[in-house]
Assembly symmetry: C2
């Protein structure tokens, strides 16, 4: 069994700890948290330490802390053997500063502690410095998720950009949409089934083929009419998005 030590006590660590506890394939031997703030949220059966000097000997150490702290934190780790991985989408593997082998164990999802998560569905992106470590890390990842991918640091950086478009920016489109509803006294609930279908559709067809709407049809009359009713960044976004869609579909 792979022995795992988890370092961190935030959102990512909390959900990882839950998934590790459930798995029969993992020997989850210890977790580290520098204070006891979130202790009540974690399973009491997992030994906890608040001192890096008393870390247990493990096969894999997982750093699940703030992106900005990974480099400094890893310098304090007195680990010679085993594999040390971080869980960040945007920090290079090389930022880990310690003598042990390095790797990345990046679960791609937006976490909040309150939300229930089915970890089996969460994609986990892996990278290791040394090829033989990849098998070990894959074994760990597959014990909690059905979606495991090998991704190098450059791809992970691009993946993060792709996620900003797919998640952050599409969510902001929903915000603008709700603002328009609120400003005109009708319920955003009217749009929820459409939003659900938009995301369900791409499970089966390429989003490029799923595109509909005035810009896709290059319907300048409707676009102008809509633009005349918008202002500020809503207008700028409508204009730029429409132009980009027209460019994409009318080459």
């Amino acid at each position: 069994m792979i022995r795992v030590v988890l370092l961190g006590a935030g959102n990512v660590a909390f959900h990882l700890a839950k998934a590790f506890t459930k798995s029969n394939d993992i020997d989850f031997i210890q977790r580290y948290g520098r204070n006891n703030k979130n202790d009540h949220l974690f399973d009491k059966t997992i030994p906890k330490t608040d001192s890096l000097n008393t870390l247990a000997k493990a096969d894999i150490y997982i750093i699940a802390i703030n992106d900005d702290s990974i480099s400094t934190f890893s310098k304090q780790l007195n680990i010679d053997n085993g594999l040390v991985v971080h869980t960040s989408g945007s920090v290079p593997m090389e930022s880990i500063n310690c003598k042990a082998n390095k790797g990345v164990f990046y679960p791609l999802q937006t976490f909040s502690i309150v939300q229930k998560i089915d970890y089996k569905q969460i994609p986990i992106c892996l990278e290791t410095e040394i090829k033989s470590d990849m098998e070990k890390l894959k074994h760990l990842a597959k014990s909690i998720s059905n979606n495991v991918y090998e991704i190098n640091s450059l791809q992970r950086e691009k993946l993060h950009i792709a996620a900003v478009f797919a998640n952050n920016f599409s969510n902001f489109m929903f915000t603008i949409s709700k603002d328009i509803c609120d400003d005109n006294d009708f319920s955003f609930d009217i749009l929820k089934p459409l939003i659900e279908e938009t995301s369900q559709k791409i499970k089966e067809i390429n989003p490029k083929e799923a595109q509909t709407g005035p810009a896709k049809r290059n319907d300048k009359k409707i676009i102008e009419k809509h633009l005349s009713q918008l202002e500020g960044y809503q207008k700028e976004i409508y204009n730029l998005m429409s132009k980009s869609i027209i460019k994409t579909y009318n080459k």
Copy 2:
């Protein structure tokens, strides 16, 4: 029982006909199609005519044809009594040109003939010229959908704009996201659970509260790093969206 005549034989008419046929509350007495192109798709038990001179007497006539044709088509209708409605999101109620009472029966969804649709989930937005017609139209709508809303022409226009953001533009975000995946040799499948969660989240929380990402955190370092790796409209969109999100959350 409300007697209904359906005019049109495209996507919207096809799915409405299916929903009407299933409902026990509606007397679906006739449908009109100017040719026999899609006849094989419709239930054979519904009487069909291809002549506007032989339209049956009904309580409600539903025009489910192209937006641009509604005005001209309705002029040819020789209907004095009853209620004539169109199914468009972007055409004013007043565009209906006939002596009967006017209204709108707008199902908000992107339809394609191949897709199976659970009509009960589809929001239907209603408007009538005369108040007493609203009850009749509501009765019809509620017999096929659980999501029925009263929306005036101005609101319907705004709803259409809101739908462009929520559906068309968010879908284009998914397209850009997939393009980035393709260009860097990793699978768009990695992002699908995240996309699903983004749309599931807004069922429970306001999208404004669900916002995450570098722009929400005003993380200029990451934004600059991402911008330096993008070009063309991808870069322009990333830049404008980030600026707009920063403006929204850092007032």
